[in-house]
């Protein structure tokens, strides 16, 4: 497929992904705003003890997601240099790290639920599961997108002058990482 000339000079796909990400910013922005607003405004917003939140595990998860972001960008860098093996390797690493994040998240959920922090135990629990749950759904979406790119990459579809989709998958994945970077301090550290 030849790249079509566009009036802005930006490929339509890339522009579309950015528009989509802008709407995602609004979506997460509205959830996070609601959290901030009720946390500061509600008289009944009890924060669980810090020990119950499991900061070490969440920190580990943050590292995992940041690492997956850098492997993602290295995958893109590889294909820009026409390095097929690099693309496949780094993408596979990204996907594995994504699953690791979800695994730890599931363990955290299980643990918190047992400790009595549930979806209906209070506003903190409600927001915790809603925000991280929505984020986890996005992680799953990102993994699926990456697996699709990985499959195509293994078939050798991408090359140094044809790799837009790798870039788009990357943009989405970095955004998912970015959201976590915001959620981590506001849910665990404050």
């Amino acid at each position: 497929m030849m790249m079509e000339e566009t009036a802005t000079g930006i490929p339509s796909g890339k522009l579309g992904i950015w528009m989509f990400l802008a709407s995602e910013v609004m979506l997460f922005g509205a959830f996070i705003s609601s959290y901030v607003i009720l946390r500061t405004g509600s008289p009944l917003f009890e924060i669980p003890l810090r020990e119950m939140l499991g900061i070490p595990l969440a920190t580990l998860n943050t590292f995992i997601l940041i690492t997956s972001s850098v492997t993602m960008v290295l995958a893109l860098d590889s294909i820009q240099k026409n390095n097929q093996k690099g693309l496949v390797g780094f993408l596979a690493a990204t996907v594995v790290l994504g699953f690791a994040f979800l695994g730890i998240k599931a363990f955290e959920y299980h643990h918190k639920w047992a400790e009595g922090i549930t979806l209906s135990s209070g506003l903190f629990g409600s927001f915790y599961y809603t925000l991280t749950g929505l984020h986890a759904l996005h992680v799953i979406g990102g993994i699926l997108f990456n697996l699709y790119i990985l499959r195509n990459g293994m078939k050798g579809i991408y090359s140094n002058d044809h790799h837009e989709r790798v870039e788009y998958a990357g943009l989405y994945w970095h955004f998912v990482d970015l959201v976590w970077v915001i959620l981590f301090p506001i849910l665990y550290l404050l």
Binding site: M1, T6, A7, T8, I10, S12, L15, G16, M19, F20, A22, S23, E24, M26, L27, G29, A30, F31, S34, I37, L38, G41, S42, P43, L44, F45, L119, S120, S121, G122, L123, S126, T130, L134
Partner: protein, 572 residues
């Protein structure tokens, strides 16, 4: 990309089509059907309002016991009709017609594109919209009936309402998703697919209007999506995002932790729903601008001012939402802020209207059917807009809020304003879509009956509102102060039922002309914009025989020295 070379089956051509024109037509027929069904719900309500407590003649016999035992409508059913009327008209009727149909069909044509930027996404947004609409309608079959907390679905009432509300939320999430896909598509299409020479200052007003509308949808809708998810969790997962502590429902305390805020829902809702007002009106203004330039045979007055005002409207529409919530007892400083921004946002609306009115001055007007609708739009939208001002000031809003005055105000904007403009647009572009024109006599009959009856329905609402009649009342005669204006209700109901009959000439004329109407040339209105430079109907998946190049602005009518009184954008 190259669908043109493949042999198309019936399914790929008419059902799962990727062609923006077919998708546009799908949007048109679907949204017109929803408009009709939303309108029908109101016709039932109008019976209860005119003759409270009396059995509905004929139709009443077919309604189940749970809705209208013995043909007399239950209060719960009345509430369902009201909530669904608002939801269907706005989210399933007008927006999909104004944006989904008009935008889809004519935006690519006006910018000289072969299709939208993402045809597959375009198809998906139609099918998700249809699914959302069907889910929404199906909620009438839920136990306890459809959503009944108003189209605004205020918490906590909506949280404790029967199951129909859950269906409402799920349908809304589908509709929002569809709109977001559409918005992304429109924005990228406008940015990227303009043909050579079509600079921003040569873009028709209609394209500008659709572009700003898409931006509003893109940024406003996710916020309601978030709000809807929180409401869903409140309903099914036992959370308390919108529930304060100590709620008592039906005499029993609600088993929730509480701590949430009902006002949070109102804020999230209106953060979308105010920009939504401009989503409803901007495409209409765009259509009217196109028709007026064509009908007056002269350039629009203040093209740049209209464009600037539209962009300013877009920005400001995100800063006024809480004027719907003055009665919630917000801080004075906050209500002053929203009062001020509301007064500011009225300026660009008035500027656009003024430009459109001044465009008429000195023109040799052709009173075609579309032009009649466009001219009628001006005073009607003016009434709608100006009656909004007292609602933007807190002192007057305290009295008028939640009365029929508000209903009158927004129906003047949305019905006599937007719907009239959309009708005009259908008459204007009908020859482009089908290569035939609609019968002129019957379209004029349709116009005059419609505009008169619409005023007959909505004008008395101002009188009722000023007399203190609250909205959402099941039985208007239950309060003594309402009885004095009850005769207006009877009059309005007859006008509403008449309005249904007045649509018959339109419907018959539409389908008859589609197949048997008089054949027309490529450019029957002698217009200048690009959509008239392609065959009628435009070529499948391709639109233009040869990609046009643009040489001038969109409204070069009566250019001195030119041989005809119109100078098309693409003419060399």
């Amino acid at each position: 990309m190259d669908q043109g070379h493949h042999k198309e089956t019936f399914i790929s051509k008419w059902v799962f089509s990727l062609d923006h024109k077919i998708i546009g037509l799908q949007y048109m027929f679907t949204s017109l059907s929803f408009l009709l069904s939303g309108f029908s719900l109101m016709l039932l309500m109008r019976w209860q309002l005119a003759f409270p407590g009396q059995p509905i003649p004929f139709l009443g016999r077919f309604l189940p016991e749970s809705m209208a035992p013995g043909g007399v409508m239950l209060p719960e059913f009345y509430n369902q009709l009201g909530a669904m009327h608002g939801t269907i008209m706005i989210f399933l009727g007008i927006v999909p017609l104004g944006v989904g149909f008009f935008g889809n069909y004519f935006l690519p044509l006006q910018i000289g594109a072969r299709d939208m930027a993402f045809p597959r996404l375009n198809m998906m947004s139609y099918w998700i919209y249809l699914l959302g609409g069907l889910v929404m309608l199906s909620s009438f079959m839920m136990p306890g009936g459809a959503a009944q907390s108003g189209w605004t679905s205020y918490a906590p009432l909506s949280v404790t309402a029967p199951a129909g509300q859950t269906v409402w939320i799920l349908a809304m999430v589908l509709i929002i998703t569809s709109s977001l896909f559409g918005a992304i598509n429109f924005i990228v299409t406008t940015l990227n697919l303009r043909v050579e020479g079509l600079t921003w200052s040569r873009l028709p007003i209609f394209v500008w209007a659709q572009f700003v509308t898409a931006i509003l949808l893109l940024f406003a809708f996710p916020v309601l999506e978030a709000g809807a998810v929180l409401q869903l969790l409140d309903r099914i997962a036992g959370t308390s995002f919108y529930l304060p502590a100590g709620l008592v429902v039906d005499g029993a305390p609600l088993e929730r932790t509480g701590g949430g805020s009902p006002l949070l829902w109102q804020h999230l809702f209106w953060f979308l729903a105010h920009p939504e007002v401009y989503v409803l009106i901007l495409p209409a203004m765009g259509i009217v601008a196109e028709i007026i330039a064509n009908g007056t045979r002269k350039p629009l007055f203040g093209y740049k001012e209209i464009v600037g005002a539209m962009c300013f409207l877009g920005v400001m529409s995100f800063l006024v939402w809480a004027h719907h919530m003055f009665l919630s007892g917000m801080k004075t400083s906050l209500s002053y802020f929203f009062m001020t921004t509301t007064m500011i946002i009225s300026i660009p609306s008035v500027a656009i209207l003024t430009c459109l009115v001044l465009s008429l001055k000195g023109g040799s007007i052709r009173f075609t059917t579309p032009m009649l609708f466009a001219i009628a739009f001006l005073p009607m939208f003016g009434i709608g807009g100006l009656t909004g001002l007292p609602l933007g000031f807190t002192p007057t809003d305290v009295y008028l809020h939640d009365t029929y005055y508000v209903i009158g105000h927004f129906h003047y904007v949305v019905v006599t304003g937007t719907i009239i403009a959309l009708f005009g647009g259908i008459y204007y572009w009908f020859p482009k879509m089908f290569g035939r024109s609609m019968n002129s006599f019957w379209s004029k009959v349709h116009f005059w009956l419609t505009i008169l009856l619409m005023n007959g329905i909505f004008f008395p609402m101002f009188i009722q509102g000023l007399a203190g009649v609250q909205r959402r009342l099941y039985d208007p005669t239950a309060q003594l102060h309402n009885v004095a204006v009850q005769p207006t209700n009877v009059f309005m109901s007859y006008c509403a039922w008449g309005l249904l009959l007045a649509q018959i000439p339109f419907i018959v004329n539409f389908f008859y002309s589609m197949f048997k109407g008089k054949k027309t040339a490529e450019n029957p209105w002698e217009a200048t914009t690009l959509e008239w430079a392609c065959p009628s109907p435009p070529l499948p998946h391709k639109n233009f025989e040869k990609t046009p190049t643009v040489h001038r602005g969109p409204y070069e009518y009566s250019v001195p020295g030119h041989k005809t009184d119109f100078y098309p954008q693409n003419a060399a």
